[in-house]
């Protein structure tokens, strides 16, 4: 293929040259430096260790907020790019940048890490615990911000180590099995991606003579059909395991279930998004043709995940495993949104990654609160908790309703955008996925009834189930506020996501269907021509009579986009 319009859009980013402060580099280095600092502190200085961890993660949140403040809405390319040559002969560089796709994943991570530290810190050996969590934060943020593929890979792999040690060091009974399974499964899958990366760079070098790992450059590599598919599969292997996508998910119930609370929160909240983020950034950015060819396969896996995850979740006896399977279902929605390749579904998927991070983190924190009081995750051993802990039950209810997609709370908006966008190109997949909405209500409400409703059976010597403490409420408050705020008024977030998503959709369309002229194609248009016929006819009619609001904004949106390219 020739260099698409995508390359210029990406490279025309607002480079970090003018910026006085390297925000993005700081996002990675502050937690990493703090991790080292914590390692240097004496083991007994528990208070100082906790304070340092908290201060560092809050500092990251502050920097992330500054990034949000500096971020220019309405612009699709990378912003605040900071570029430093690293291993120059091999073309490897420390290149960080942020766009609408990664911005809110960074913010979400920056919120979840202090929440996890405050709400689920370890009693034993807080020093190593805090250090590992901070190290994990650096690695996660580095993954979301890397524009260099190899840098991404290093960060992506670096996340495994802290999680492995968090599970082994602070996990539950079967932690050894769970940690090993998690590590080997994801590590093995990543090996495929490394092969893919190296191959892609070789191919690119053969074509241009330039050795580079910069995704903006690699996006214009010309790939034959076979190589495209094989490379796509090698990248997707790593992402599908990480997300996880059915049927590569079986490590996740074990890992989520056996992790300490902070591990579950961060695994499901942040690290799962590394997989789906990888799909949108690298699969869609680098292999658009293969994405279009293999989309039906991945859509099918996504839909199976939605239904299958819901069905298996329904019969779980362990609350954490239930949430693990519900996560499989929710990530199925995200995968569906990604491979439906419409502006609506992709924006919804990006938003849903953030939403899922927030409510799943809240769910795991709530489950940890139950565990702290009752010492069990087993649903049959819990009953009637609402009587003595109405506030805890109420918060659980709100989070649960967000997760089953009740409008007014954050889960709905993402799901609705995903499904209505998917319906445009892959109608029957969207219809099947909608069935997941019913299943989700069934398994969650059933679990809620068994845990919270009914009369608690008094057990001799056991204190009544204690209400949420102020400290616990304070930890959950930001998450609940976000759940409501993103449900009622997500538009400011979407306004920042959509330009990047629209640019990506355009890129995919042009590479996959190079014959379609740019001018005639709506920015967020759909791939299958048949689906847009009904609407386009009405569009022309409406425009003929002077048009109306939504169409007018669309037209101007296209114009500005055109001007930029």
């Amino acid at each position: 293929m020739t260099a698409s319009a995508f390359g210029p859009i990406l490279t025309a980013g607002i480079t970090g040259g003018q910026q006085a402060f390297p925000f993005l580099t700081a996002l990675v280095l502050v937690p990493a430096g703090a991790a080292v600092l914590v390692m240097l502190l004496p083991r007994s200085a528990t208070w100082a260790i906790r304070a340092a961890g908290m201060a560092a993660s809050l500092a990251v949140l502050g920097i992330a907020a500054a990034v949000l403040d500096q971020f220019q809405a309405g612009f699709g390319g990378y912003q605040m790019v900071s570029e430093h040559p690293w291993i120059a002969p091999l073309g490897i560089s420390w290149t960080l940048g942020v766009d609408g796709i990664s911005l809110f994943l960074v913010l979400m991570s920056a919120v979840l890490f202090p929440v996890a530290l405050a709400g689920a810190t370890a009693r034993e050996n807080p020093k190593s615990f805090t250090a590992w969590v901070l190290f994990l934060e650096a690695a996660c943020l580095g993954s979301f911000l890397s524009i260099d593929v190899l840098l991404f890979f290093l960060f992506f792999e670096a996340t495994l180590v802290p999680v492995y040690f968090l599970i082994v060091g602070w996990g539950h009974e079967r932690r050894g099995y769970a940690a090993t399974k998690f590590f080997l499964y994801t590590f093995a899958a990543s090996a495929f991606m490394l092969v893919g990366i190296v191959s892609l760079v070789f191919i690119h070098q053969g074509q241009t003579g330039v050795t580079t790992f910069d995704i903006r450059e690699l996006a214009s590599t010309h790939l034959s059909g076979t190589a495209d598919i094989v490379l796509f599969l090698s990248f997707t292997a790593a992402f599908a395991v990480k997300a996880p996508v059915f049927p590569f998910h079986t490590w996740s119930p074990d890992a989520y279930g056996e992790s300490p609370a902070a591990g579950s929160v961060l695994l499901a909240g942040v690290m799962a998004k590394l997989g789906t983020y990888g799909i949108i950034r690298f699969d869609l950015g680098l292999f658009p043709h293969a994405v279009v060819v293999l989309a039906p396969l991945l859509l099918t896996l996504g839909v199976i995940g939605i239904i299958y995850g819901g069905i298996v979740a329904a019969v779980q006896h362990d609350l954490k495993r239930l949430v693990a399977y519900s996560s499989l279902a929710h990530l199925g929605f995200i995968v569906v949104g990604l491979f439906a390749l419409t502006g609506e579904s992709l924006s919804g998927a990006v938003l849903q990654m953030v939403n899922h991070g927030i409510y799943t983190a809240a769910l795991f924190l709530l489950i940890a609160m139950i565990y702290r009081r009752r010492g069990t995750f087993a649903i049959p051993k819990l009953k009637g908790l609402q009587s003595s802990a109405p506030v805890l039950a109420g918060v659980f209810t709100v989070v649960m309703l967000a997760s089953i997609g009740v409008p007014g709370l954050n889960g709905f908006v993402g799901e609705f955008l995903i499904l209505s966008g998917t319906f445009l190109t892959h109608r029957w997949w969207a219809v099947a996925a909608t069935g997941g909405v019913v299943v989700a209500a069934a398994y969650f409400l059933w679990a809620y009834q068994r845990v919270f409703h009914g009369k608690a059976d008094p057990v001799a010597g056991e204190a009544p189930f204690a209400e949420m403490t102020w400290r616990e409420a304070l930890v959950l408050a930001p998450l609940v506020v976000l759940i409501v705020a993103l449900g009622v008024y997500p538009q400011p977030v979407l306004e920042r996501i959509t330009p990047s998503v629209d640019a990506l959709v355009l890129h995919v369309e042009q590479v996959a269907h190079p014959r379609i002229p740019l001018a005639g194609q709506p920015v967020s248009g759909t791939l299958a021509a048949r689906t847009s016929t009904a609407y386009s006819s009405s569009v022309t009619l409406q425009l003929g009579t002077g048009g109306e609001r939504t169409l007018a904004t669309r037209a101007t949106g296209r114009e500005t986009k055109g001007a930029r390219t």
Partner: protein, 639 residues
């Protein structure tokens, strides 16, 4: 003044916000008064806006108020805004009016409940959601209200969550509703694909480009949503179980307002139904059959509230029969009058349940009319209204429905007329068993199965309730008696409701042209049916309290629909889920993973024997070599 419309939903929302944060501090009864005041204020605003709208010329009675963009991406935009037109204002007026009365009633009814403030918190939230449902200017915002009322219904059915049947009923209601909601959602996707918009006015203006198959699909999928929400066949069993909630909830949510949301939705999409007569026929037939099944089931119930629940199912069926016949005005007319008399009957039954110390079995009652005259007389008015005895409201509204059904096909009229006869009969049975005849209770009888155990051991002295509860009974009885006069046949000048709604629903799908003589004939037949039902009930139930032949088990079990669905759907899917989790997931999907791991370990151990050293070093070398090798091959393929 029309610009004040935004206050209509905002006032109950503000009430919710205050009660949510300060409810416990306000306590009993202040929390209840605050909630009531907010809804009453909302009613006042509604009336003001209503009058302002009425003063406009009929063609200009449509006004959109856009608030903000809720969300948007690609070419999808969903706004938050309200549509003020005769239909939405009619809905808002009766919702806020009936809600105010039921709020007031609840102050008395929930007086002894520990969770008093919480009850009113939910109730205000419900009214907000219900108003958003009917006032929204687009499908998605209506869906927000639609789900919102569903969630509040879940909270309120399971309000006494320590009782297992209440908890189960709440969950069941939500899941049944969700089945319908899936249909609603797919309809939304289809609407968006075909018209590129969700706004009612825009969508309706683009229907010409949609194509008939899609229109039929949209109509039937939205109807699936309505079937869930409005308890039609086959998704009605949840409504009977929902009676486990407090009685004011049954009156407000499960009789007057929420369950009529499906009817509202069908009336709102009347431009679509105009173009899809086949879908309209399906709606009419589902409605008629539901009316019959509900009415027959109500004949054999012994729980005072379950009689009313199945009666509601039946009456909702009538409303869909009207919608399917293209008689939207008749549907709205019946919805209004039904809200009056059914709310009245539920509140009256709540008064009885209080008087009987939480016993709900009508076989244990009798002779209460003399002890509770206000309840007795208002309940009688409710009975005559629902039965269709002239000149009570039900006579006019049900007559309107049946007449339109005849115009579609006489078969529908026959089903409707038989159900009407049964309606007069089953309510008569309830009235006689509860209020007349001999007392089948004693003053010393202990509480049967009550949540309010503090009254255990007290004697039973049935009496009319406090004024909080009596006043709503009297107001609703007045409305139930006189409500029919808003839409009288006989003369074009008397059809007030029809002329008011005309800008929204337009000309009926099937114009009914009956001469004045035919109208009179219909009226006489309707009256005769009602009076026959009343007389049959009187002759059967005046003297006896048990007639097993007239209370067959299959009617008591509501045609075994609930049990059938439980056996064939719920249990099958639970078994399937267990199989999936224990066999497919553990043995196959995860088994494969552990299998691969096992083989790797086995070969690793063989390797270890050959070489002494760290396996991981070899493994690393292996991976590195593999990477370069595969990369090389790929490059050859790629270039």
């Amino acid at each position: 003044m029309i610009h004040a419309a935004f206050l209509i939903p905002i006032l109950p929302l503000a009430g919710f916000a205050v009660l949510f944060s300060l409810g416990r501090r306000l306590g009993n009864p202040l929390a209840g008064w605050l909630a009531t005041a907010m809804v009453a204020a909302s009613f006042v605003v509604t009336v003001i806006v209503f009058v302002a709208l009425f003063q406009q010329a009929p063609a200009h009675r449509e006004f959109t108020q856009s608030w903000f963009t809720w969300f948007g991406a690609g070419r999808l935009r969903v706004g938050a805004g309200i549509l003020v037109d005769p239909l939405s204002m009619t809905m808002a007026a009766f919702i806020t009016g009936v809600s105010s009365l039921i709020h007031l009633y609840s102050i008395g009814y929930m007086k002894h409940d520990e969770q008093f403030p919480k009850f009113f918190t939910y109730l205000n939230l419900f009214v907000f959601a219900m108003l958003m449902l009917v006032l929204a200017d687009n499908f998605v915002l209506s869906f927000f209200g639609w789900e919102g009322v569903g969630v509040c219904s879940y909270f309120l059915i399971a309000f006494w969550f320590e009782r297992d049947e209440a908890a189960s009923a709440g969950k069941k209601a939500m899941i049944f509703n969700r089945i319908g909601d899936a249909g609603f959602l797919v309809a939304l996707f289809l609407i968006f694909e075909r018209t590129g918009s969700f706004e009612y006015t825009t969508v309706f203006s683009r229907l010409g480009h949609v194509g008939t198959p899609s229109l039929v699909a949209i109509a039937l999928l939205l109807f699936l949503g309505a079937v869930g929400k409005s308890a039609q066949i086959p998704l009605f069993p949840w409504l009977a179980d929902a009676m486990a909630g407090p009685t004011p909830v049954s009156a407000l949510i499960h009789a007057a307002t929420m369950v009529t949301a499906g009817v509202y939705l069908m009336c709102r999409i009347n431009p679509i139904l105009h173009l899809t007569p086949d879908a309209a026929h399906v709606i009419a037939w589902v409605g008629a059959v539901t009316a019959f099944v509900g009415a027959t089931s109500a004949c054999a119930q012994n729980d005072i509230k379950k009689v009313l629940a199945y009666s509601t199912v039946s009456q909702l069926g009538y409303m869909f029969l009207a919608v399917g016949s293209g008689a939207y005005v008749a549907a709205i007319f019946l919805m209004l009058t039904h809200a009056f008399y059914k709310a009245l009957l539920f509140l009256g039954s709540g008064s009885v349940i209080h008087a009987m110390d939480e016993d709900q079995d009508i076989k244990n009652m009798g002779g209460l009319a003399r002890l509770m005259p206000i309840t007795g007389i208002t309940f009688l008015i409710g009975w005559f209204s629902i039965a269709g005895v002239p000149p009570f409201s039900g006579f006019w509204s049900k007559g309107d429905v049946l007449q339109n059904a005849w115009a579609v096909t006489p078969a529908l009229w026959v089903i409707g007329a038989v159900s009407a006869l049964l309606t007069a009969y089953y309510m008569g049975r309830e009235y006689f068993l509860v209020f007349l005849g001999e007392r089948r209770w004693t003053e010393a009888r202990p509480v049967a199965d009550g949540h309010d155990n503090e009254e255990l051991g007290h004697g039973l002295h049935p009496h009319d309730p406090s004024w909080h509860m009596s006043l709503p009974l009297v107001v609703l009885a007045t409305l139930a008696a006189l409500g029919g006069f808003i839409d009288l046949p006989f003369h074009p000048n008397l059809v007030f409701l029809e002329r008011w709604l005309d800008p929204v629903v337009g000309p009926s799908l099937l114009q009914t042209h009956f001469s004045v003589g035919q109208e009179w004939l219909f009226s006489v037949v309707d009256a005769a049916i009602a009076v026959t039902g009343v007389l049959v009930a009187a002759s059967v139930w005046r003297a006896s309290s048990s007639r097993p032949a007239l209370e067959p088990r299959f009617l008591f079990m509501a045609w075994f629909v609930d049990r059938g669905e439980d056996r064939f759907v719920a249990r099958t899917s639970t078994a399937l889920a267990s199989f999936t989790a224990t066999v497919v997931e553990s043995r196959i999907v995860d088994g494969a993973v552990n299998g691969v791991a096992g083989v790797t370990r086995w070969s690793g151990e063989r390797l270890r024997r050959v070489q002494s050293g760290y396996v991981r070093n070899y493994a690393l070398g292996l991976v590195a070599g593999l990477v370069v090798l595969v990369a090389y091959v790929l490059v050859r393929v790629g270039s």
